[in-house]
Symmetry: none
Subunit: 204 residues, 4 copies
């Protein structure tokens, strides 16, 4: 057959991205087949290749999109320049908020690095590095100012990002805790982890 009446490239492209994102996040890149994605989208597997050169490129495209959007979202934030504590809280809240709304993107972004081959790996790593640098810079500033008790900004950055990303392993929307509540809890733990928590968490 041929072009389906009323079919539209932009719509299909979006559907492919969303579907693969969800599947990769839930089952892992290697465990998801192109046919599985196509079935969900409602097209033949061969149609996927109009939009992404191959499965690997599909992963790279998804990860690049996410990282670029994440960096753009951070750039668009109204960031407090001075106080490192406020900056860390701001970053933490931003990250958690962004993450809680896009659990799949963030999860893939951290877990499927191992599925990347060159040259995609280098490209995505560079973008990731730029995001991690944001956090590291805040931590370094706080160390210099003496307000953070941190042994190593690299390790601390990694630990904090891992902690937050980990929410995905157990969080299911509609669960016992609201997203706002989870955000509060994690922010409090992040601040505590760098030796910087004056006020207690507001217990409900």
């Amino acid at each position: 057959m041929a072009r389906t009446a009323g079919s539209n490239g932009e719509v299909t492209a979006q559907a492919i991205r969303e579907t693969s994102l969800a599947l990769f996040a839930r089952e892992g890149y290697a465990a998801v087949s192109m046919r599985q994605i196509a079935d969900r989208v409602g097209v033949q597997a061969s149609s996927l290749y109009r939009y992404h050169a191959n499965k690997q490129q599909l992963l790279v495209d998804i990860m690049r999109d996410h990282m670029v959007q994440l960096l753009e979202a951070w750039e668009a934030e109204d960031r407090p320049e001075g106080d490192p504590v406020a900056a860390l809280e701001h970053f933490a809240r931003f990250h958690i908020r962004y993450h809680i709304k896009r659990p799949d993107e963030v999860f893939i972004s951290y877990m499927e690095l191992r599925s990347l081959e060159e040259p995609g790996l280098r490209e995505i790593s560079r973008l990731r590095g730029r995001y991690e640098t944001i956090l590291k810079d805040i931590l370094r500033r706080g160390m210099d100012d003496g307000v953070f008790d941190i042994a190593d900004p690299h390790v601390a950055a990694m630990a904090i990002l891992a902690m937050i990303t980990g929410v995905n392993t157990w969080y299911r929307s509609g669960g016992r805790l609201s997203q706002a509540r989870i955000e509060d809890i994690y922010v409090s733990m992040v601040l505590g982890s760098v030796g910087c928590r004056s006020e207690g968490v507001v217990h409900v």
Copy 2:
């Protein structure tokens, strides 16, 4: 042909376990083939089926082994009964020490839950639950005693375990930091995350 001269069941069994562990950790369960494992072990793929009924069972066996050993190791510890702070520090140090020595086991244990099918999933989940309960109990006791500032012991437990497991995403042995140093840093961050850090980290 039959038995290769000098072949030994116990040795092969061990080699299969170690090899699949390493491969599953590095590339993910779905991305590893039985032949890949067999090649590394130095046997034919068909020989793997003497030791594990199928690929899924191989994963279950590895995960069960790990969880059982982890729980046994905890039982074997000389645990301080009273003080929740000491208990948490003890648990954290135990977990980190155990984890740093067995990064692959721990990583698989957390990441490949999604690859488990029933009835293996239920079995492993139950074992995992027993381990998580250890941490949750400590957290609950500390909350009751008023020494921990925790909003929700379940969330806190998850966040702490995720943080520690995350070391795998960046730690490479022989790197800039010694294992002992990393352990210290993480312990300090874990304690801080539950609002409980009087002394600073010892900076090198």
Copy 3:
């Protein structure tokens, strides 16, 4: 979208023919895809179907074109009627000249017969037969006159045509030998092969 600005049917038609000719000759009909052709021409694959009903028909069209032009070129020659030796030399020179200028057409014409399906096969075979008959008639006349030493005109015709076509397997323009030189050598060998060579080849 529709017609690209400045597009022109005749130009595209010619480009398709030339491109597929070159690709079929170099890689073989079965190894060439419609997209490959389209990419080289600079159009979408679907556009090819405006000019040829399908891939098979594209091959038939190319082969028919070639055979028809070859036969017309022969008809247009100023042919010596009488002497079979002169006729053979004339035919040989004509064929070699024509072939050296159109290696792709000739090569396809001989090699891709096996890729033809009915009814195209019958059509092309008939045209080919007409061309072979020209050579066979010359050989037969030479036999009757006693100037050729030939066992079987059919076999001889096939052997001679194969010999000449074979130049393609090694000839590259701009190589050590000029086209004229190659023509001389082959003519000499063709004449020799039917037992009819008084003068030696002019050695350079």
Copy 4:
């Protein structure tokens, strides 16, 4: 399922080689699918990969086998050392005899060079070169002795080999002419093509 009762690797290996040889010769490497081969052999397509790493390697293996056997057969011949004319006739007869019995191998060997990718191409080219050198050496010796009237030994070698190989495009066993007769005719033409034919062909 598993190993078929009574199945034997050597038998299957031979069957795969013979079947692919026949199919590649008749339809061309690119036009033959692995399934087609497997169907004829009576196994699943996947079984082919126990014997050849991939389709390309299957072609290389077939071509290497042929070239090695051809060279060995030539080595095993009782070759007349002195007279170049006798040597050429001997070579021609050997080649034609060998070729008439193995039309498929020879045909593939000449026609599917274009389907070879590196590093197979280099390997096969080297073997082919060794065979061509045999003929070229004879031609050169005859030139030096003044018994052959040849302009260029390389071109002459190519033309002669092409001529002989060409028999495949029309020869079908059980046809009008016996294999012996065809051999005679071609030998006579080969000798003639290098300006060296005293006696006529024996007409039946």
